[in-house]
Symmetry: D2
């Protein structure tokens, strides 16, 4: 890795279905609240694949992708007080000014000048260096002795499963939880749901490999919904009552509507999935069922909590990591991650 | 009124579009937890009109309608301890056993042997007498000196507006609230929303009369949505942010979808409307907006609270009452209530 | 055991420091909501020892002691609908009418005609049979296949630790919790606190045996406070911040005041201990610390939740049970339980 | 007022019982996050009187007093983005970095580098100019058209009554609230408690003038506790049940212990008072009463909410203002404020 020149390697979005690993100028401090971070580990998110399909209009060709990672602070702007060069830090996928109404309420996802901008409207983390705006409120110190590879999971995927799925879903001791979708984010919900000791977590997917992973990760039971009888099966398992929490972690109408059919009176449907289309909401059946439906873009407000759970071994975040690559081989990393059904990839670690 | 014979007058559902005022046997205690109540005041609900359209399959011809009212306890079963003959009481529209899992959580609407059964699956209150199962947990004592006419509004309409709209909608000091639908239940939400001092309540309807009523009842502003520009207007009023709480009090797809368009990030859509059809949920726009959608059949768990607010003049429940009839003229009362656009009827009081 | 006569064996409080196992008439149904339960397993509570010291004025000589246990329904009153003879049930230590304002809010401990009356103002469970008032809302069905011995812990001790300590104390993922007192109720708090995956539970006591038990039960660390340096030690362990939750499970001024010294800004002191004296509340130090202090008599409102956690193996309630006795030897059971420092007794099971 | 020199007038604490109005250098930007504010209106707080008694060790002689006020931004540091010269702003009495763990949780009072420092450990607002650290998160924009005099009440006293008393006290529709102490902060609690429509607010004090003010401000009833029968009176008024919320707004043992005696089972004692001594907490009576006791230094996290309630006329903050002075006469203002029993002063406005 070359750190004493002004050039660095970076994975750049070149328009729908096109990406390349190229040389780019090393980023520089622009605002007094910026930090420059030397990336030590980054990863790929399902959202990066969405961008590459051309589904994310805000992300224009020429953008360095990536919104997750850990690294070492290289340089800080004059107004940065919480970090100094040499600090080992986690990058939040969401940039927070810490000042606006939304940030005050810990709704960092809706920060009026931040939110999800990394690897979207500004250059991201799949590079040797990245510029982080509002560093004081967008970076998190990594406590000494923490496994930094595990910490990469705290940039996005674990807070996403935890905040959008588990907290919004009000998972509680003794409750019955169904998680629809056993991909990385569904598994992140599965791992963090166990913080609250629900009586039973039922995992639903079409892929037997993923359902097996779910079993290993703590699911009490799994349902392959390929036969179209998932609703019936869950009704039977819950004595016709339904589940207290249904977590949608896929993002298509069929899976959301499955949640509508299995949620118990008084229950919650917590949506995590990124939806591209409207869904049918059967209010003619649900208007009198005392249910809640929640949506959320991850705020990463739980990163400090998650750090403590990792440090105290309440969760083994590394279980989500299946593959490792050098930045030079990031195209191969993308291929592996994109072909998860074959590669069984969950999260891949990429190191410059 | 004849109380020393075994015959009484009652309004009976005779199948779609048919009802008649007939003689029926006076009800008798069937279970040790029953009470017989002599009705002194009852009223008509929008749901009674739904039944008469044939829309409520659970309600069969021959049923005495009505699920609201106040009266005097006539007789109690051997296990009733909270009431005795002569007590002035309010009848909850929801019957609660007080024992099942749902009742323990104050979700009386889903009581496994109760819920909304009065004037639905058992005979109701539009009669001289009614049998109330689980009297101890389904009746409420009327404190001395309380205006009993106002109290009729506590059987259903005020708790409905309060629980399904205001509490589910998390109305709070300083917030902006939109209520879609200025009919009786929307106005009940408007009255009870003011318990929490929101900065602004915007009322939306197609009927100018109702919007004028809304202004008198405390709406800060009103929007006639006939011109199809309600969304635009609200966006302008809220500096493009949207409302913290959108309360749906109509029950059709168009009004629910209006709520989807005006809710602010972090806001709540609280559904009160009785829906007969599915609606389009635009998750492709809402998945990342951190919103909640709630549904609820009224539990009437707030009746004790509402009694206190009425007694302390925090709410003037009588403002919802526009007409008075004798039970003998109940068919005329129905005609008046059903033709609200002309009669300007909100709630009508019917007295045997 | 003799069930076809009208005489039974029972442990009777005979005034301060006096108790005896005697013959008493078998109880009979008095109210339509009563049940008669044949006790199969009961236990002794610290409160029983308080009564025997003469500290509980409401409990008069002649009273059959005991407020915990499981059994089989023998007979039910005419208004009991949730249970029938032959049902295996758990007895709540708190009797709930299910009707009064407090019961409606699940504050069964303050039921206006119930609350803690068993083995206090009415005859209790340390006998072959017991009469349970308000059976429908004071008994809980034991699901088939559940270990009934473990279930005895759900009558009082587990809900006490869970409700008064863990729920009131807002134990949460990643938090730091201190529990003062490693007796049975402190250990019950320790077991149930783990439902919420706190980062660290610190157990404090003077007895090394109990602290060793705490380690086995899941405490991350233990402090023997005999050296008077517990505050200093906790300050060091928490980088001078203090603990998020301090649970008081002893009931004397010194331990409560220890909690005052170790609670972090924004934290909670959750009192479980039964106090006989006032304590010093150092508001001159705490007025600006944003803390909460809570007290609570167990409501047993979490029994249904605890049943689910036991059934799904989220907690091993049997770990609290150290000794077994026949009812005929209950005096020996008392001696063992009362001399815990020597016998290492936690909870003892007594079977007729 | 002279703004083009480097000298300004300021009220300086000169040690116990000594203060003087003197010339001091105009403050300058020290950190990139600072702002210099030209004070247009300030006021005096009870805490300023405490300092003058020598009770606040952190405040050393030479300090410019004052932590409340409105003004116009004169100059901003390079990292300030939310404000620019000419902006009309409110100064929070609490300085918040917006970055530390406490600030993230909106516990600005415990900001690790801020909190209550103005007029305490750094120079305050009773001057022509003041330097405000962390301006972006410690100042609030005043919406156009807002009465700026009313807004001065949002620096400290209204958030204090609202956060420490009303929110911590869980004031709710239909509840019964007692406020002990009808001084300015008690009256601020009284005004903001009405946001939640409690059934009844009972105000308790020894001063008839203040009790009369309380009546005008919305108290349902008042009790002069001089006769030592306040507990008895409240017991009678609440049918022996006690109050749902008892707000302590005095700060001495007698008033706190009064709260202990009048709080209902399930209720809250919300402490606002600044206490100099420990109090007796009667846990021997309260351990089983299911109560909460809360303490809090105001966080001013509700300033945005309070702005909206002022703008929408849900509260008339100006009612707290009784006197006006020029900065030149601030010693007279202090005399008036300090002698409230005679002057009937609540809050005084001071304008340079």
């Amino acid at each position: 890795m070359i750190t004493n020149t002004n050039v660095m390697r970076a994975l750049v979005y070149q328009g729908p279905r096109k990406k390349s690993l190229v040389d780019r100028p090393k980023p520089e401090i622009k605002e007094p609240t910026d930090a420059i971070v030397k990336i030590t580990k980054t990863t790929i998110c399902g959202t990066d694949l969405h961008i590459l399909k051309g589904d994310v209009a805000s992300c224009q060709p020429g953008r360095i992708l990536g919104h997750e990672g850990v690294g070492i602070v290289e340089q800080v702007g004059i107004a940065v007080t919480a970090f100094k060069p040499g600090d080992h830090i986690l990058i939040s996928c969401v940039t927070a000014c810490g000042k606006c109404d939304y940030c005050r309420r810990q709704m960092y996802s809706h920060c009026t000048t931040g939110g999800w901008i990394l690897g979207n409207t500004i250059d991201g983390t799949q590079a040797e260096f990245v510029r982080i705006p509002y560093a004081d409120t967008s970076l998190y110190p990594i406590p000494d002795g923490t496994d930094e590879e595990a910490v990469v999971m705290l940039s996005d995927i674990l807070p996403t499963g935890f905040e959008c799925g588990v907290l919004n879903g009000k998972v509680a001791p003794g409750n019955t939880v169904a998680i629809i979708g056993a991909g990385p984010v569904g598994l992140a919900a599965l791992l963090t749901a166990q913080f609250y000791s629900p009586a039973e977590i039922i995992m639903i997917d079409l892929d037997e490999n993923r359902l097996e992973a779910a079993k290993r990760f703590g699911a009490a039971s799994t349902i392959n919904s390929a036969d179209g009888r998932a609703v019936e099966t869950i009704r039977k398992m819950t004595c016709d009552r339904g589940v207290d929490t249904a977590i949608e972690a896929v993002g298509i109408p069929a899976t959301f509507e499955l949640c509508e059919q299995i949620v118990a009176p008084g229950g919650v449907i917590a949506n995590i999935g990124v939806h591209g289309n409207k869904v049918d909401l059967h209010l003619e059946k649900l208007w009198d069922r005392n249910i809640s439906i929640t949506t959320r873009l991850v705020d990463t407000s739980t990163i400090p909590t998650l750090f403590k759970t990792v440090a105290s071994h309440k969760i083994d975040a590394k279980r989500l990591i299946t593959h490792h690559f050098r930045l030079d081989n990031i195209l191969e990393a993308y291929a592996t991650f994109d072909n998860a059904s074959k590669s069984k990839a969950l999260k891949v670690i990429i190191e410059p």
